[in-house]
């Protein structure tokens, strides 16, 4: 890749559908998911468990289980169409220009190999250089992610490091081949709060420094607010709302986004006030009805919500949502909550 302007789109996903084969026929796990990430930009995909955010990330990396298959209009990564790539073509991209950070640093490093082996492996595999070069880069990156005595730590095994340090190793590993895109799936959920703050800060710094595109998958709106440039809110396999972070937090439109934000403790004064709740629970894939995916939990639902599937509507340049209600009505419902 040649150097590219800051606004260059690194990943452009259009209408990604993931299906899971089951005994009762294929179930749709994500439905027409579309988003873009540009160089130097952080996109947060936020949603509760079962909303399809992890499935989406695995689909992008080609890591879906065998029972799943993908149909998409396009998945363009830095000029390459990912759809239809063979396994070996895909594996030349994976780990090199597109890498992934998993949720649990306790289990995402192989317990029987040293940190150094695991860091060097990806570098050598992608033909970036020999073992010595890999070692030097590993030391440089470990130091960069704040691990002291990096050269010595290369011979450590994962169980000799704390959770926070392991996640730093994972981050360093993701950076080994100088990727354009990093997908981080709940990277700090398994960490303690004080460690989480530092790890996120580090991730943000590195992103700016290396000009990375970052997809941050999370359930935590606090992380979204402090990290993301843009947000896609997912519910039951659909992107129900997408906007810049500022815009989304200022005027969320979709009733689900609004509900999610009101649920967070701390938006009210401490003490007696009740938290807002969304009644019911996330539907399982078999329970999804035609029409709006949120209709059975939505306070504003009307009969028409159960009709045909809802299209994504653009309200502003970078703000779109999937609801049939007039924008003004939705906006005022947020202001009056």
């Amino acid at each position: 890749m040649t150097s590219s302007p800051a606004s260059e789109t690194v990943l452009d996903v259009k209408n990604l559908n993931v299906y899971i084969k089951t005994a009762v026929g294929p179930l749709q796990a994500t439905k027409d998911v579309s988003f873009q990430v540009r160089r130097g930009e952080t996109l947060a995909i936020v949603g509760e468990s079962g909303c399809g955010k992890t499935i989406t990330s695995l689909a992008l990396m080609g890591l879906l289980p065998k029972a799943a298959f993908v149909q998409a209009e396009s998945c363009n990564f830095a000029g390459t169409e990912l759809q239809g790539l063979t396994r070996s073509q895909l594996s030349r991209i994976r780990g090199k220009s597109m890498s992934m950070i998993f949720q649990d640093p306790m289990t995402s490093l192989n317990p029987v190999y040293t940190i150094g082996d695991q860091l060097a492996e990806v570098y050598v595999k992608h033909g970036m250089g020999n073992k010595r070069a890999a070692r030097e880069r590993a030391i440089m990156l470990l130091e960069r992610v704040g691990i002291k005595n990096a050269a010595e730590r290369l011979s450590y095994y994962p169980h000799q490091l704390s959770g926070g340090l392991r996640q730093r190793v994972v981050i360093a590993m993701a950076l080994m081949c100088g990727p354009q895109l990093i997908i981080a799936d709940e990277p700090t959920t398994a960490l303690d709060v004080t460690v989480q703050a530092r790890t996120l800060a580090l991730l943000g710094e590195l992103q700016r420094e290396f000009g990375l595109a970052l997809i941050l998958i999370t359930h935590d709106l606090g992380i979204v607010a402090s990290m993301a440039d843009r947000v896609a809110v997912m519910y039951a396999g659909c992107v129900v709302e997408a906007a810049t972070t500022e815009e989304l937090f200022r005027s969320p439109l979709h009733p689900y986004t609004q509900g999610l934000m009101r649920c967070i403790p701390g938006r009210h004064k401490a003490g007696d006030s009740h938290l807002h709740t969304i009644p019911g629970m996330v539907p399982s894939l078999v329970e999804i009805r035609p029409g709006c995916v949120f209709q059975n939990r939505c306070a504003m639902a009307i009969e028409r919500c159960g009709g045909s599937d809802i299209e994504l509507r653009d309200v502003e340049e970078a703000h779109s949502f999937r609801c049939i209600m007039p924008q003004a009505e939705l906006a005022s419902s947020w202001l009056h909550s």
């Binding site: 709740t277 009644p279 019911g280 629970m281 539907p283 399982s284 894939l285 078999v286 329970e287 059975n296």
Partner: protein, 300 residues
């Protein structure tokens, strides 16, 4: 009363119990059905052997030695599977042999299952020194050459049905102990055990009402495997002459007696051998099937 919002209004379905689920799943589980049929057939054969056997399994007849089976030249329906070297009816001996096989196999599995599970649950639940003792016992058991110990014990205590059953039980308790111990440890890590302790439940209550129902299906599965192995080992001991004693018709003895004629009358060793093989497969299928249909199901 607190006015909590109702948690759900979406689900209008009934909740089937685990047994109903298992029953539904077993209707489509072919392996389970085949295994169950084989074991049921063997059990029926064992119970009704006196009624269905065409002849006395011990009645020797010098005039009708080594008669061919019905499908062979000169075969007759009088002796469907022919006769052995002493002129005894092979089908009758096979049917009576089912009794020996089933009693020894089932008995050994039950006795070893009880001993092993008790040790395993105690070790897993109490931990500490109790557990250390249980682990040590398992290690000692594993270190002893099982078949040779069994042979020695048979030579000391004789080859009666009871002694063979007990000796085989001594051979097989360790697997139950290992599985029960691990399963108990896993169950005890669950918060419902702590919750039961917090309501003041006694240890007996916790072991029998909380732990046992949750590890029972694993024990039953090991039971089926061990029953199969016990049947194989009984046959092997009897084959060596240090198991069930002739003329009692154990399947192992049938093979051993037919060995001298294996080149002349191969069906005499093929039939009892296949009987063991099929029954053991049936028990394995049954055990695997039980595991499949009783495995806990997730929500979706």
């Amino acid at each position: 009363m607190a006015s909590a919002p109702t948690a759900t209004n979406t689900q209008e379905m009934d909740y089937p119990s685990p047994w109903q689920n298992a029953w539904e799943r077993s209707k489509t589980h072919i392996g389970l059905q085949i295994g169950f049929s084989i074991v049921l057939l063997a059990a029926l054969a064992a119970i009704f052997a006196p009624l269905i056997a065409p002849a006395d399994p011990y009645a020797q007849s010098l005039t009708s030695r080594l008669l061919p089976a019905v499908w062979q030249p000169n075969g007759s329906w009088d002796h469907i599977l022919g006769t052995d070297a002493y002129g005894r009816d092979v089908l009758s001996r096979l049917l009576y042999g089912t009794q020996v096989t089933m009693i020894v196999g089932f008995g050994a599995a039950v006795v070893s299952g009880i001993v092993g599970s008790v040790l395993g649950i105690l070790g897993g639940y109490f931990g500490g020194k109790v557990d250390a003792v249980v682990i040590f016992l398992i290690n000692v058991k594993l270190a002893m050459p099982g078949v040779l110990i069994a042979l020695s014990l048979v030579s000391i205590f004789g080859g009666s049905l009871i002694s063979i059953t007990v000796i085989l039980a001594l051979l097989f308790w360790d697997r139950f102990a290992v599985v029960a111990r691990t399963a108990t440890q896993q169950v005890c890590a669950n918060e419902y055990i702590a919750a039961a302790e917090c309501v003041g439940a006694s240890r007996t209550w916790i072991i029998f009402r909380e732990i046992l129902p949750n590890i029972a299906n694993q024990i039953i599965i090991i039971g089926s495997l061990e029953m199969a192995i016990a049947i194989l080992v009984e046959a092997a001991l009897s084959f060596l002459g240090l198991g069930i004693q002739p003329p009692t018709p154990s399947w192992g003895i049938l093979v051993s007696e037919a060995r001298a004629f294996m080149f002349l009358k191969p069906h005499l060793i093929v039939i009892p051998g296949m009987a063991i093989f099929i029954l053991v497969i049936g028990i394995n299928l049954l055990g695997d099937g039980i595991r499949d249909v009783t495995a806990p199901q997730g929500r979706n």
